[in-house]
Symmetry: C2
Subunit: 167 residues, 2 copies
């Protein structure tokens, strides 16, 4: 079973910080919001975000060329599917239609698949099995919890102070 996904955020890491793309179901369950975080290379993270908001005047990048070559050969990207995960390694497939109208499926990395999808306006899907294994409670909910805990800790700290601490 496939779930349609949206891009929630792209984090372009640097140095020791990994780059990350976080997907979420296009139709979120408000009670149990879900995130699908996928670690990707910083080059691919940049390629995805430049596909989302292209910089005018910049030279076409490799994924722009991938789109040009595909379209020049009469191909069309119908959708991309995050179809498997093993440990923290995700796998994806391009669902293409060739010039003769036949379906062509090509295996690839999720980062390449998403960088192409954003350029082609193609739909993103994730296999339910992938969401079952690698889906996480929504990050925002975790952040809110952490924020609440931080305020609680601070209040406890302040309440534990004696008047002597202020002198």
């Amino acid at each position: 079973m496939l779930t349609e996904m949206d891009i929630k955020t792209v984090v372009i890491g640097g140095g020791p910080v990994s780059s990350l793309i976080v997907l979420k179901p296009a139709r979120q369950d408000e009670k149990e919001p879900l995130s699908l975080p996928i670690r990707i290379g910083s080059v691919e993270a940049t390629a995805i975000s430049m596909g989302v908001s292209p910089e005018g005047g910049a030279r076409p990048m490799t994924h722009d060329l991938l789109k040009s070559v595909m379209e020049s050969l009469g191909g069309h990207l119908r959708s991309v599917i995050i179809n498997d995960v093993s440990g923290t390694t995700f796998y994806a497939q391009l669902d293409l239609v060739g010039a003769d109208g036949h379906q062509v499926v090509v295996d690839c990395r999720p980062s390449d698949a998403i960088a192409l999808a954003v350029r082609c306006g193609a739909t993103l899907f994730a296999e339910q099995a992938v969401l079952d294994v690698a889906g996480m409670p929504d990050f925002r909910a975790i952040e809110d919890q952490e924020h609440d805990q931080e305020i609680k800790d601070f209040h406890e700290f302040v309440e534990g102070l004696s008047p002597d601490d202020f002198t």
Copy 2:
């Protein structure tokens, strides 16, 4: 007029050092050897050198996917042509054959073109006009000259020494 080119060297830069690919005519004129140095991104330099000597077990990179998509759609890369230069910016074209046997030409960056060519075993060409503008005397010749000059300078330095300098 097109000249068939070979890859002479790929320099993968880092920090302030640019990455570079140096092409040379496949049939060099021994009297006037020529180099065509093209500044490229370090990511593209890595993509080219991994295409020349693939690392076993590594996940397919974007140019591997470009090849897969092209071939899945019945396309074939005949050659790539470095067809123009403006300042230090070079332009290239992929000379593809589509599934129906028709020629398809796609504009791209030389780095993408070469990274794809090395994966497909396609021939590299440069327009004569590009070689006229951007071709340089062969680097090796320059290095040899510099080496000769260095030895000459050292000999002059030694000859200029007086016995007192050794005490």
